[in-house]
Subunit: 380 residues, 2 copies
C-alpha cells in the first residue's frame, strides 16, 4: 500500500534541529523556517491574535506550542506543516513554558488570572491554578518559566508575589508562595543554570531574587538603589527580562525608564556598570558564547540595534536594520542572528563576527523569532 | 509516482531532537535510540573498530559522525537508519569536532599525527594539517574541539604544543601555534562559553590554559602545585577532560593518579578543594543545571558511580549500576541520565532527582552515549 500524501514531510526527510518559527503578528500566522538553508519552509495560518505571542518546543523538536494573546494555545507540527491541535484556554494570556520532562505545558493568563497546565500530547487540561490573593481577587500572571525537577515559577503582577509550583504529580501540584516580593513584578528570568529566578519590579526600585537552591531563605531584593535619584523617562514599551543576558560573571539587563543596559555582578548581585545605549532597551540578548550582547529598543528608537562587547562592556557596533526591530534570535552556536523588522515586513540575517548582512526574507509584520534548539534549554 | 520504500523514516514522522547514538564497541555497531520513549530504534553495523569512538552531530541533527579508532569516519543518517557515507581517513584516530557553522568536520589523528578537515556534506577532504614539530616529526593529536568564530583547537601530545586553527577560509586555514605549553598534554576541554581551552598534562603537574579572548597572552600554567607531594597511584585508564564539569564558579576535573575530584575556582584558576572519591575518576560530568556531578571510575572501581552535590561539594550518593560503567549522558534538560555498562551488556536510565532506576535496555558491550542535543553545543 502506498502511504504517500501531499504533506511535505512525506516528500522529504526533514530533521528538526535547525528549524524555527517566526510570528507574523498582524496576520495571525507563523512561518516555519530553516536556519541552515536560511529559507522559509511554510506558513501556518488562522492562529488568532498573535500580538505578544511566544513559543516553546516539544523535547523531540517536532512540535511548536504557540501562546496567543487571545488565550489561544496552538500545537504546530513542524514535520507536516500544519496545526496539530488548537484550543482557546483563557481570555487573555501572556506566555507559557514547557516542563523539564516535556510532558506538560503551562500557560500564564491575565484573565482569568492564573496558570493552566496541559498535556503536551493531547492539550487536555491537567491542572488549573488561579492566582488568588487578598479578598478572592485574581492577579495577572507574568514571568512564567520552567525550572529543574519539574517545577514552574511565576510572578503575580497585582499581588506582588512569586509562586513556585512542583508538578512532579501534575494532578496534585505543590505550591509554595512568596509574598511581599515587591510592587508590580512585570517580567522575570531564570539564569541558564536554572538556579536563580529574578523578577523585575515596575512600581518599585530593584529586582526580586529567588534562589531555587535555597528557597527557604525566601525572596530578597537586589539593586534596590539603582536609578533612585535618576529622572525617569517615559516607557513606551516594557522591557523583556526573558531577553536577559548572562556573560561570564555578569548579567546584563535592560534598565527601565532609562537609556541604559545595567551590568550586574551575579555573585554579589551588585550593580557594576551602566552602559549608555541608544534608547529604552527592550531585548538584551547574549550570543550563546556570551562575548556579545545584542540590544533592540522601544519606539522612537526601534530602528536601531546595538552590540555590546562583554570583554570591555562597551557598545562596539550600531546597526540600522530597518523600521521597527522587534526581536532577535541567535543560531544555536551563535554564528548568525535573525532579526525581525516589522514595518519593513522583513527578516534580516547577520553574521555575528563580521556584522555583514547575509540575507533578507519577506515576512508579514514579523515579531517573535524562536528556534527549535530552545527545546533543550531551561527557563525559556 | 509512489516514493515509498522500506526505510522507517517513510513509515513514520521522526523528529531528531530526542535521538541519540550508543557505541557498541566490540561489535563495531551503534544503536540509534530515542530518549523520550526510552527505546532503541535501530542498529547500524559494519563501522569498524569503535574502541574509544566518539560522535558529533550535524547542525540539523539528522546525521551522526562517528570517529573510529581505525581512522574510520562514518556518517550515519538518523532518519533512514543507515550509513550515508564512510571513509577511512587515517591509520589511527582519537576523536573529532564539528565547526560552528556545521559545514566542516575535523578529525584528530595519531598516525599520521595531525588533523584532517572534511566537508560534512560529502566527506571530501578540505584541509590536511600535519602536526609537525622538531625535526619533521609528527605528533599525536589530542583534545580537539571546535571554538567560536569557525576555529578548531587541539593539543600535540609529543610536542607539548597547542594549535589554534581559523577555518573561516577552509582552503587556507590560519594556524597559531603555542609552544612549550607542558609535557604530554593528554586531553583538553573548552569551557561551555567557548572562552577557555584547558589541556591536562600527563608528564607534568598542572594544566595548560589558553584564553581565546586573549590569545596574544599565550598559554599559562594553572594548578602547577597540585599533587606535587602526593604519592601517585597507578593510572589504569586516562581520565577524560572532555567529561569536564562547570558548575557555577567552579570547574570540577578528575585528578590523575589520585582518587580525587579537583574543584577549581574558574575566576582565579586556583584549587579550592579535593573531593575524595571511590577510585580514579574517568568522566566527571555535570548535570545540565550544574547542581550534580556524576563520576565514574577506572578499573578496579569501575562498577561504581558517585554523585557530588555542588551546593556542598560532597558525595551524596553512590550507585552500583553493574560491571564496567563506561560512560554517562544526561538528557538535554537533565531529568534523566543514561549509563553504559559494558560487561553487563546493558544501558541503565536513572532519574537524577530520585536516583531511581527507570529502565534497562540491552546493548552489546556499550561504551559511549551521545545525544543529538550536542549539535547545539560548543567544544564537544
Amino acid at each position: 500500500m502506498c502511504l504517500i500524501t501531499s504533506y511535505s514531510a512525506y516528500a522529504e526527510y526533514r530533521a528538526t534541529g535547525d528549524l524555527g518559527v517566526v510570528i507574523e503578528r498582524a496576520k495571525g500566522s507563523v512561518l516555519i523556517i530553516n536556519t541552515s538553508q536560511r529559507t522559509k519552509l511554510s506558513q501556518i495560518q488562522a492562529l488568532g491574535d498573535l500580538s505578544h505571542a511566544s513559543v516553546v518546543f516539544s523535547r523531540d523538536q517536532r512540535y511548536a506550542f504557540i501562546f496567543g494573546r487571545d488565550g489561544g494555545l496552538s500545537k504546530i507540527d513542524l514535520l507536516q506543516d500544519k496545526i496539530d491541535k488548537r484550543i482557546i484556554q483563557a481570555g487573555n494570556s501572556i506566555g507559557g513554558a514547557i516542563s523539564q520532562d516535556g510532558r506538560l505545558i503551562a500557560v500564564s493568563n491575565y484573565t482569568p488570572g492564573g496558570i493552566k497546565i496541559f498535556s503536551t500530547e493531547t492539550l487536555e487540561l491537567v491542572a488549573d491554578i488561579p492566582a488568588e490573593y487578598g479578598d478572592h481577587k485574581l492577579s495577572k500572571v507574568v514571568g512564567l518559566v520552567d525550572a529543574p525537577n519539574q517545577h514552574f515559577v511565576f510572578s503575580l503582577f497585582d499581588a506582588g508575589e512569586i509562586w513556585l509550583v512542583d508538578v512532579n504529580n501534575p494532578k496534585k501540584p505543590i505550591i509554595t508562595k512568596f509574598k511581599g516580593v515587591g510592587k508590580q513584578p512585570y517580567d522575570a528570568l531564570l539564569t541558564p543554570d536554572g538556579r536563580y529566578y529574578i523578577a523585575g519590579l515596575f512600581a518599585e526600585q530593584g529586582l526580586a531574587l529567588l534562589d531555587l537552591w535555597n528557597p527557604e531563605i525566601g525572596v530578597k531584593r537586589i539593586l534596590s538603589d539603582y536609578g533612585k535619584k535618576d529622572e525617569k523617562l517615559p516607557v513606551y514599551k516594557m522591557p523583556h527580562l526573558e531577553g536577559w543576558a548572562v556573560a561570564g560573571d555578569f548579567m546584563l539587563i535592560p534598565a527601565i525608564g532609562q537609556h541604559q543596559v545595567l551590568v550586574v555582578d551575579k555573585r554579589l548581585w551588585t550593580l557594576v556598570k551602566r552602559i549608555p545605549v541608544a534608547g529604552q532597551p527592550v531585548f538584551v540578548m547574549a550570543r550563546p558564547d556570551g562575548r556579545q550582547i545584542w540590544v533592540n529598543f522601544a519606539f522612537p528608537d526601534n530602528q536601531q540595534l546595538q552590540i555590546i562587547d562583554t570583554k570591555d562592556l562597551k557598545v562596539i557596533k550600531s546597526l540600522l536594520p530597518g523600521k521597527a526591530v522587534l526581536h532577535m534570535e541567535f543560531t544555536p552556536r551563535g554564528e548568525e542572528v535573525w532579526v525581525s523588522i516589522r514595518d519593513d515586513n522583513q527578516l534580516v540575517i547577520y553574521n555575528t563576527e563580521s556584522f555583514k548582512e547575509i540575507k533578507r526574507l519577506a515576512a508579514e509584520k514579523p515579531s517573535g523569532i524562536f528556534f527549535s534548539s530552545r527545546a533543550h534549554k531551561m527557563g525559556l
